[in-house]
Structure formats: C-alpha cells, structure tokens
Symmetry: C2
Subunit: 143 residues, 2 copies
C-alpha cells in the first residue's frame, strides 16, 4: 500500500511532532529506536523531508531534527507523495494510461470511490490533527 520509506517517514514525523519543538530537538540516531527504523535510514528520510520543508533541522552541538508549528500543518499526502511519488497511490488500479470516470477500467467502479475518499483524507489531514487525536486518546502510537 505504502512503501516502507513512506511508513518510516510518517512514523518519524509523528515522533517529531510529539516530542520536539523549536527548542527541544532530537538526533536521527535517537529517533531510530523509538520508531523502530534503522538509524541511517531514518536520517536519509528526514534529510529528504527537510529539503522540502516538512521537517526542520539544525546542525552541530545540540542540533537535531524538530517540527515547527508551521511544519505540523503539513498534510499527510505530501509526505507520501514525496517518498512514493504521486503515481503509486493515485494511478489506476490496473495502471491503464487513459482511464478516467468516463472510461473506467473494470476495477474502477469497484474501488474508484473508495480510493478517492482515501486520498482526500490524506490531503485534508495534517500532522497536527493526528497529534491531537493521540492527545485526545483517540489513537495510539506504539511505534
């Protein structure tokens, strides 16, 4: 469904959202354990997210990765699209080129609506909202 990279990235960003801010940062190697992702792998992913303004970071002593309030407004789809490309989630289930509502493939009717609801959710939901759910006890994060 999602690539490992996308899952790892989401876990990493959620961890940062829960545990950091402009002042309190955390190093890649210290995120690795809690979210159960290899240290150098999560480092790479966070760097990539940093380049696109999804996470913030500062080098050197007491540096590390963190999320600003602005960062937390990122919609989930941005993280997924960055790592998996738009194609993976949004393309036709059978990978047919010229398919749309007017020219639907056999699976379209079956899963088309479901899929677009799913994507709309990812577009409309931000990191901040997921964090709120966790704080409200609506969801849990045993990463």
């Amino acid at each position: 469904m999602l690539s490992k990279s996308a899952k790892y990235a989401l876990k990493g960003v959620l961890y940062l959202a829960m545990n950091t801010n402009e002042q309190k940062r955390v190093m890649a190697k210290d995120i690795s354990g809690p979210i159960n992702v290899p240290p150098s792998y999560i480092a790479k992913l966070l760097q990539q997210l940093g380049r696109h303004g999804v996470v913030s970071s500062i080098k050197g002593p007491h540096g590390g990765f963190f999320l600003t309030e602005e960062n937390k407004k990122t919609p989930l789809i941005k993280i997924i699209d960055l790592l998996d490309g738009e194609y993976r989630l949004k393309s036709c289930m059978l990978s047919l080129k010229d398919c749309n509502e007017l020219n639907p493939c056999p699976l379209h009717r079956l899963v088309g609506n479901v899929k677009s609801d799913f994507i709309r959710s990812l577009e409309q939901t931000t990191i901040a909202e997921l964090v709120q759910d966790i704080k409200d006890g609506k969801s849990f994060l045993p990463l």
Copy 2:
C-alpha cells in the same frame, strides 16, 4: 497499491475471461501483446495462478490457457493475495504489529473504514461479475 505482478495477473485473467473457454484456448505469447505484459512474465504468472486453480491450461498442440465457468467464480482478492501476499493490502498502514480497532494507530481512524470497504469489495466480487460489467458497457478494457 498493487504490485505490477498483481496488476498483470488481473489483466491476464480478465483477458482470458473475455476471450477463452474450455474449447477456445490461448497461448501465453498471444496474451502478451493485447494486455501489454512481457510474454515470459505473463507465462510465469499464469502458471502460478494455474497451480492454485485460478486459471486452467492444457499442454501441447492447440493447448494454452483458458478459464472455465468455475474459474470465473474466483473472487478478485484471491488473485491479489496470491501475488502480493495478504500482508500488503491488509496490514496496518504504518505496519504496526499489535494494532486493531481497540488500539488504532493514528492513520487507522483516517483510512481504516475506507480500506476495509475496499477489501470487502475485492472479496465479494468475482471475475465473472467484472466481465458482466464490461459486457453491459459499464466498464472498458483497453488493456
């Protein structure tokens, strides 16, 4: 979403459903073109599906692959699970081990229902039903 193998397999099976029966068979190399999948690749996939009773085949002159009426009753999920494993589609979006309705991860609320509707569709829909849609002009198959 689905692996290439799963997409190829679905296209191959749909092609067989539309173009073959016990008497009229088609060789792997002749499916390749119409569904736009490498000949040796679709051959492998159909062999694998054959082992699990999803397609039928006969060796030798005038042999080839085909679908019986029985074969056409196969639910779509069987083809997908065979090639991708159940895990890919059905596991938690963040790949968390011990997660369920009572212990939902942050994405669960967001996509959980959508995802299970999707899976239920795949479980309840058979090849035969997709073929009927095509014959009724409800969907199209420019593979």
